[in-house]
C-alpha cells in the first residue's frame, strides 16, 4: 500500500521564558490510506503538538521546526508558505478538536461553518454548499438537519457539537482526518456514539484517521496501528494487537498495568512512580529511564535505537539489546490474561 503521509525525524521546540522546551524530539511515523493510527501518551508527551504540526497549526513563534520533514503528496509541508497551507488545510487534511464548544465559532450558524470550506476549496455556490451541508449533517446523524443547519453552536448539545465538527472536517472529503482527543470531553454513552460514527464515516469516505488520545480503551476500540509517545519521542509503535498483546517497552507495560480492568479483581494497581520529564531540560538518554524499574546505566546517557521486532513493530529500548538481561513483561500488563498472540 502506498504511504499517504511520511513524517521523518520531526522536531518542534518552543521558546519560553524558562528556556527552550523541546516538545517533539525526532518523531518518525507514516500513515497508510484508509487506516487509523492512534498516537497515545500522557499530557506533555508531545502528541498534540505533533498532530497540530501536521496542519501547521503550531503558532510560530514561539514554536519552531527544529528539524525533520512531513511529506504529503510528495511535498514537504514544513517548507510550505502559509498561503500554500491554506489550500491544504480543510481540503486534504482536516482536524477535529477536543472541546467542541471552544472550537466552533459561536457567532456563526453551523451551516455557514460547514459551507466555508466548500465555497473556498470547491468553488461551490452558496446554495449548493447549503445543500451539501444538510447532507453532511445527515451523515453524522443529526436529526432534523434542515432545521438544525441554521442553528448556532449553543443550541446544540455536547455530543451534537462534536458531530457537527466532524461534519465540518469531512466537508471537502479530506484524505487525512486528525482527531485530537475527540471524545475526552464527552460522556461514555456519547463517546460510544462518536467512535461508532467515526468508524462508519471512515468506511463510507475512506479517509485515513490519526487519533490522538490517552485512553487505551478508545485505542483498542478504534485503531489499526498505535504509536506510544513519551517525553517527545515515540518509544514504541506497532499494530494494535502487537501493542496490547506483545508490548516490549516498559512504558507501554506501565500504561497497560495502571489501567484498572473492568473484569479484574481489586488488587493494587501498578502505578508508574514519579512524573514525566521536564522537556525544557530533556534527559540525555531514554526519557523514561528515571521512572523505569528496569533502567540500566546505559539508559541514562544514550537514547536507544529502534529495534525492529516485526514488519510493523518497533521499540526503542535498551532491554532489547543483546547485551541486556532478559526481562519479561509483568503479568499486570497482560491484556486478556493468558491470550497468546501468534
Amino acid at each position: 500500500m502506498s504511504k499517504l503521509l511520511e513524517v521523518k525525524d520531526l522536531s518542534i521546540a518552543f521558546d519560553t521564558y524558562g528556556g527552550e522546551v523541546q516538545a517533539v524530539r525526532g518523531v518518525t511515523f507514516d500513515l497508510d490510506e484508509k487506516e487509523t493510527l492512534a498516537i497515545v501518551g500522557e499530557s506533555g508527551s508531545g502528541k498534540s503538538v505533533t498532530a497540530q504540526s501536521l496542519m501547521r497549526l503550531v503558532p510560530m513563534p514561539p514554536g519552531k521546526f527544529a528539524g525533520g520533514s512531513i511529506v504529503f503528496n510528495e511535498e514537504d509541508l514544513v517548507e510550505k508558505s502559509d498561503k500554500q497551507m491554506e489550500g491544504i488545510r480543510g481540503k486534504d487534511i482536516s482536524m477535529i478538536f477536543q472541546d467542541p464548544m471552544t472550537s466552533l465559532n459561536p457567532t456563526m450558524p453551523i451551516g455557514k461553518q460547514i459551507s466555508e470550506g466548500l465555497i473556498k476549496h470547491q468553488n461551490m455556490s452558496k446554495k449548493a454548499a447549503h445543500n451539501r451541508g444538510i447532507e453532511l449533517l445527515k451523515l453524522v446523524g443529526i436529526p432534523n438537519p434542515e432545521r438544525r443547519i441554521d442553528q448556532y453552536p449553543h443550541e446544540y448539545s455536547g455530543g451534537m457539537r462534536q458531530r457537527a465538527m466532524i461534519a465540518i472536517a469531512l466537508a471537502c472529503n479530506p484524505k487525512i482526518l486528525i482527531a485530537d482527543e475527540p471524545t475526552t470531553a464527552l460522556d461514555v454513552t456519547i463517546q460510544a456514539q462518536i467512535l461508532d460514527l467515526m468508524r462508519d464515516v471512515q468506511e463510507e469516505t475512506g479517509t485515513a484517521i490519526i487519533l490522538i488520545t490517552h485512553d487505551l480503551g478508545v485505542v483498542a476500540n478504534a485503531a489499526n496501528r498505535v504509536a506510544v509517545m513519551y517525553g517527545g519521542k515515540i518509544v514504541e509503535t506497532g499494530n494494535v494487537n502487537e501493542i496490547f498483546y506483545n508490548p516490549k517497552h516498559p512504558y507501554t507495560w506501565g500504561l497497560l498495568s495502571s489501567m484498572p480492568k473492568i473484569d479484574g479483581d481489586d488488587e493494587e494497581l501498578l502505578a508508574i512512580p514519579g512524573s514525566p520529564p521536564d522537556l525544557a531540560d530533556p534527559p540525555k538518554g531514554c526519557p523514561f529511564a528515571a521512572r523505569c524499574p528496569y533502567a540500566m546505566k546505559v539508559c541514562e546517557n544514550h537514547m536507544p535505537e529502534y529495534t525492529h521486532l516485526s514488519e510493523t513493530q518497533q521499540t526503542a529500548c535498551w532491554l532489547l539489546d543483546e547485551r541486556a538481561p532478559d526481562v519479561e513483561a509483568p503479568e499486570s500488563a497482560m491484556v486478556g490474561g493468558t491470550k497468546v498472540h501468534e
Partner: protein, 326 residues
C-alpha cells in the same frame, strides 16, 4: 468481605432533594429524591454522566449545599438539622472533601504547609507550633511527599502532587468520612493509579469511609465496595460493585457499562454494544414518569406515566425500573 448486616451504617441518606431556583418559573431539580446508606469503612462509588446530579448529591450530603428536602443522618445525627456553630464545627471535622481540580482547589497564595494546617488551626488540634509542624510533616510523608515540600507554593507542583496535597489537607483533621469528587479525572493514567493506591492504603490504615464520585466506571469498580448509578437527579440502581458489573439490572446501567471501551482489541472487535440514542434531556424539564424512558430500549407505556418505585429487587441490589415490577 464481611456481609453487609454486620456492617454499621455511617450515613443514611433519605429521600434527599436539592433544587435550584433558576427563575420564578424554572426549577432545576439537580437531586430529586435519592435514598441510600453508606456503611462504615466502605467506599461507595457514585457514577453517572455529566449533569446527573452526582456532584450536587455529594455536596448536599456534606452540607456544602442546604438540602431542599430529605435527610442525611451521619452517625444517627441529622446533618441538615439546625446546629449551633460549635456543633457544626465538630461535624465539619468529621467530614472532609477532596476536589476534582487540583489547580483550583488549593489557594495559590498559601504555602503547602499552611494549606494542610488550616484545618488543624481551625479546630485547635495542635498544642504548639512545633506540634503543628510535626503534624504537617507527618501528613506530607503519608501522602508520599517530602518535608521540604511544605514551604513551597501550589504552582510548583504537578497535578498528581497537588492532589496528594489535597488528600493531606483532608486527612489533617482525622475525619471519618471523605467525599472525593472526581479526585482523579484531571490526572494522567499513570498518575491516577498512584493517587488511587494512596487512597486505598489510607482507607485501610485509618478506617476511612469514602464517597467516591466519578464518571470512569472501570476506576469506580476498582475502588468501590458498592456503587450507585444516577441518572437525571434520580438513583437508577445501587448494588455491590461485583453484582452491578456482573448483572446490571437497569437498562441505563447496562448501556453505561457496555459503552465503556475495554483496553483489549480482541474484545472490542467482537463485543456487542448497546448504544443508546440521543443525549441526556435537560434536568430543568425532565421527562415524565421514568426519566430514562426517552433513551431506553425497553420503554413501555407505563414508563411515561408512572415513576418507577425504588425497590430491593434482590438482596442488597436496589433498582428503580418498571421491568422488575411483578
Amino acid at each position: 468481605m464481611n456481609s453487609i448486616e454486620e456492617k454499621e451504617k455511617l450515613l443514611e441518606i433519605k429521600d434527599l432533594k436539592k433544587h435550584f431556583k433558576l427563575s420564578r418559573k424554572q426549577t432545576l431539580k439537580a437531586v430529586d429524591g435519592i435514598s441510600f446508606d453508606i456503611y462504615k469503612g466502605e467506599t461507595f462509588g457514585l457514577v453517572g454522566e455529566s449533569g446527573c446530579g452526582k456532584s450536587t448529591a455529594g455536596r448536599t450530603i456534606m452540607r456544602l449545599y442546604e438540602a431542599t428536602e430529605g435527610e442525611v443522618d451521619f452517625n444517627g445525627d441529622n446533618v441538615h438539622a439546625k446546629k449551633s456553630a460549635k456543633e457544626l464545627k465538630s461535624f465539619n471535622r468529621n467530614m472532609q472533601m477532596i476536589f476534582q481540580d487540583p489547580y483550583a482547589s488549593l489557594n495559590p497564595r498559601m504555602t503547602v504547609k499552611d494549606i494542610i494546617a488550616e484545618g488543624i488551626d481551625i479546630h485547635g488540634l495542635a498544642s504548639s507550633k512545633d506540634d503543628r509542624l510535626n503534624k504537617v510533616h507527618a501528613l506530607l510523608e503519608i501522602v508520599g511527599l517530602n518535608k521540604e515540600h511544605g514551604n513551597r507554593y501550589p504552582h510548583e507542583f504537578s497535578g498528581g502532587q497537588r492532589q496528594r496535597i489535597g488528600i493531606a489537607r483532608a486527612l489533617a483533621v482525622s475525619p471519618q468520612f471523605i467525599v472525593a469528587d472526581e479526585p482523579i479525572s484531571a490526572l494522567d493514567v499513570s498518575i491516577q493509579a498512584q493517587v488511587v493506591n494512596i487512597m486505598k492504603r489510607l482507607q485501610k490504615e485509618r478506617e476511612l469511609t469514602y464517597l467516591f464520585i466519578a464518571h470512569d466506571l472501570s476506576m469506580v469498580k476498582h475502588i468501590s465496595d458498592r456503587v450507585g448509578v444516577m441518572y437525571l437527579g434520580k438513583m437508577a440502581e445501587v448494588a455491590t460493585s461485583d453484582d452491578l458489573y456482573a448483572e446490571p439490572l437497569h437498562p441505563y446501567t447496562q448501556a453505561l457499562l457496555s459503552a465503556v471501551p475495554i483496553s483489549d482489541p480482541e474484545v472490542e472487535r467482537t463485543r456487542e454494544r448497546i448504544i443508546i440514542e440521543g443525549d441526556v434531556p435537560s434536568p430543568v424539564s425532565p421527562p415524565s414518569g421514568c426519566r430514562f424512558r426517552t433513551r431506553c430500549p425497553h420503554a413501555m407505556d407505563i414508563c411515561a406515566n408512572v415513576s418507577p418505585e425504588w425497590q430491593e429487587h434482590k438482596k442488597d441490589h436496589w433498582v428503580a425500573c418498571h421491568l422488575y415490577n411483578e
